[in-house]
Amino acid sequence: MELNSVEAVQQALATQRYVSEQSLATAIYLSLALPKPLLLEGEAGVGKTEVAKALATILDTKLIRLQCYEGLDVSHAVYEWNYPRQMLAIRVLEDEKVDREKAVEEIFSSEYLIERPLLEAVRHSTGKAPVLLIDEIDRADEEFEAFLLELLSDFQITIPEIGTIKAVHPPIVIITSNRTRELHDALKRRCLYHWIDYPSVDKEFRIVTGKVPGINERLAQQITTFIHELRREDLYKLPGVAETLDWAAALLALNQRELSTEIASATLGAILKHQEDLQAIRKGKLENLVAAASNGE
């Protein structure tokens, strides 16, 4: 599919059942056109990762995903040598009386290299540029962020034993962050930035009906109104869209056709995951929320 305008991006996302604001579609379009990495920030469960998945499907290309965690280092993000194979190989070469220089050259060739996501994205040479998803970068530490800078500006990776590998097709990079910490300005400067907010009632309704097949409109409407009201409460963790979808699926599995206080209370664990939040809502507020949801159709 040709993504040559903002509308085209928005429509293409819609075919993947990804309901997007125009601002998000614009950011995606620009990141493809410029091209520049796209940094998506937002609360957990608002569909940041989904953007990359949908984009890969639309472009019919490979999705390469790097899940970040603290202490993520080169050997897990970029490459690692296959040590056991190298050790066996060197014994063999030694037996064959191969010259040492040659032997070293042999065992540090790309044949003995284990690709990790970033190297894979750079070396990807078949067909189109892949989509590289660097997920939850705020979980990685500053050292890793600094390492990313080189990759993001030149799309090249340097392996001391082999040399510099430059991407044939620079990957389409999507970076997501839950904003548990502030990212470094140097990284931000290299990216386009978009903040994904909680969706409006209307948009969330379209997401629920799109993503949970078989749900009736009345229930979907009640669920989204309920969630929307719930997000106005003082909670430690507001439910994201992912929670809304879980809840809708849960209610559907229980053969519910509309929201009642009892069933809402019983399934509240699908949307609220903190004991304090559950208590606060169950203690008095639940009835009002259900009532509001039933009236607000």
Partner: protein, 421 residues
């Protein structure tokens, strides 16, 4: 300062001590040093030391010797006289703690060993000509040369009783305190010969020299990082006497240690981390005063902590942070709210420390409703009313990983003395 004969005398014998240690110092240089002492702020140890070095040392190779002799001569003097000639004064142990912590930036085992060595060496060096002087000049010293010892008096004075001038001195002392917070394990590994893990890459590399047989293993160990420190300081009316100096204290930690997140609250919470990142303390204080709206007002600890838990906890309480709350516990809000927020904050932090300036008074009992509600969730309840208590805190923070207090899932909550309204 006025140059006294005592100081001249001491300087001359310091020069002599240097000569004995092998440094080529002339009498002219010593006199230059005596004169230069007039031009500098002698109370500031680093400046005093720089002046001495500039005047007395001409060869780079002599610097370590100079450092050693300087350290033992100018610092340990009162300690020396107490021990050998006078037999102890009140507060004499302060020198080791106060000056030691502040000056020896890397207070490692090696350093203290060297200090020990220095002491021995000094007694050898100085006994012949200095014994008389050491005993009868100790008064003169504390007046001028060692204005460091004014620090001793200051150490035990309550912050609330300090004059403007003394506050400025206290500020100096704070800057010298060495803050070293506990370490957490990161998930990174760095190579180390004594590490627990095998480093495959290096081992492989090395095995090339032995025909592919990994005869010598290379190792890696877990890297550690300093813990994040979060300070939440009460600046309401009841804390007025302390809040300014405590902010300076936060500024001092901020500037001696890499990672501090700072917040202040009265009726609402304000993050001041960025405001404190200023070159000069005065500028930082001005900015804080301008930005913080609820200075010297009422207190709502519960609400402020709630704001913290909801908006900031996720961002600043990462990876085992140490949280310090500074407050007297006079809370006008709902104790139930404070209780639940404290419980939450404790669960989110590696260590929750509450500093209460009133705890310094022997008559104080934490009976206020706010304090009662908070106490079950505090890991360490400490005072913060004078320099000595700050030193104790610095020490406590550096050993924070050694013992971890037991936490209960359901803390034992003391019956409130006043029934909750």
């Amino acid at each position: 300062m006025v140059i006294t004969d005592t100081f001249t005398q001491r300087s001359i014998s310091f020069g002599r001590a240097l000569r004995r240690a092998g440094v080529n110092t002339t009498m002219g240089q010593v006199m230059d040093f005596v004169r230069s002492a007039e031009m500098i702020e002698i109370g500031r140890r680093s400046e005093f030391r720089e002046a001495a070095r500039a005047c007395l040392i001409t060869n780079k190779d002599d610097l370590p010797t100079f450092d050693r002799v300087f350290e033992s001569y100018w610092r340990a003097k009162p300690d020396f006289s107490d021990q050998f000639y006078e037999g102890g004064e009140p507060g004499d142990e302060s020198y080791d703690v106060g000056e030691g912590e502040g000056e020896e930036a890397e207070g490692t085992a090696d350093d203290s060993a060297e200090a020990e060595g220095g002491k021995r060496q000094r007694s050898e060096m100085m006994e012949p000509d200095d014994s008389a002087e050491a005993s009868d000049d100790s008064d003169g010293e504390s007046d001028d040369v060692l204005s460091f010892s004014a620090a001793e008096v200051l150490r035990d004075r309550d912050f609330a009783d300090l004059t403007e001038e003394e506050l400025a001195q206290a500020r100096h002392l704070m800057e010298k305190l060495h803050w070293k917070i506990g370490q957490r394990r990161s998930r990174r590994r760095i190579s180390s010969p004594k590490g627990r893990f095998i480093d495959p890459r290096r081992t492989m590399r090395r095995s090339l020299q032995t025909a592919g047989v990994p005869l010598r293993l290379s190792h890696r160990k877990t890297k550690t990082k300093p813990r994040q420190l979060v300070v939440i300081c009460d600046v309401s009316g009841s804390m007025d006497r302390y809040s300014r100096i405590l902010l300076q204290f936060i500024y001092a930690i901020e500037n001696n240690m890499a990672r501090v997140e700072a917040f202040v609250f009265g009726t609402r919470l304000t993050r001041i981390t960025r405001l404190l990142r200023r070159r000069s303390i005065d500028e930082a204080m001005q900015r804080v005063a301008r930005e913080v709206q609820d200075w010297s007002g009422g207190t709502r600890i519960g609400q402020s902590l709630q704001t913290f838990n909801m908006t900031w906890a996720r961002r600043v309480l990462r990876n085992g942070a140490v949280v310090i709350i500074i407050s007297d516990g006079w809370d006008r809000g709902d104790p139930e709210l404070l209780r639940s927020e404290m419980s939450r904050l404790q669960r989110g932090s590696y260590r929750l420390i509450w500093l209460n300036p009133l705890l310094g008074s022997p008559r104080y009992e934490p009976l206020t409703r706010g304090m009662q509600a908070a106490i079950p969730f505090i890991d360490d309840f400490m005072t913060v009313h004078n320099m000595a208590s700050l030193e104790a805190l610095a020490k406590h923070l550096s050993t924070i990983d050694e013992v971890r207090p037991v936490r209960r899932q359901h803390p034992i909550i003391p019956r409130p003395t006043v029934p909750a309204a």
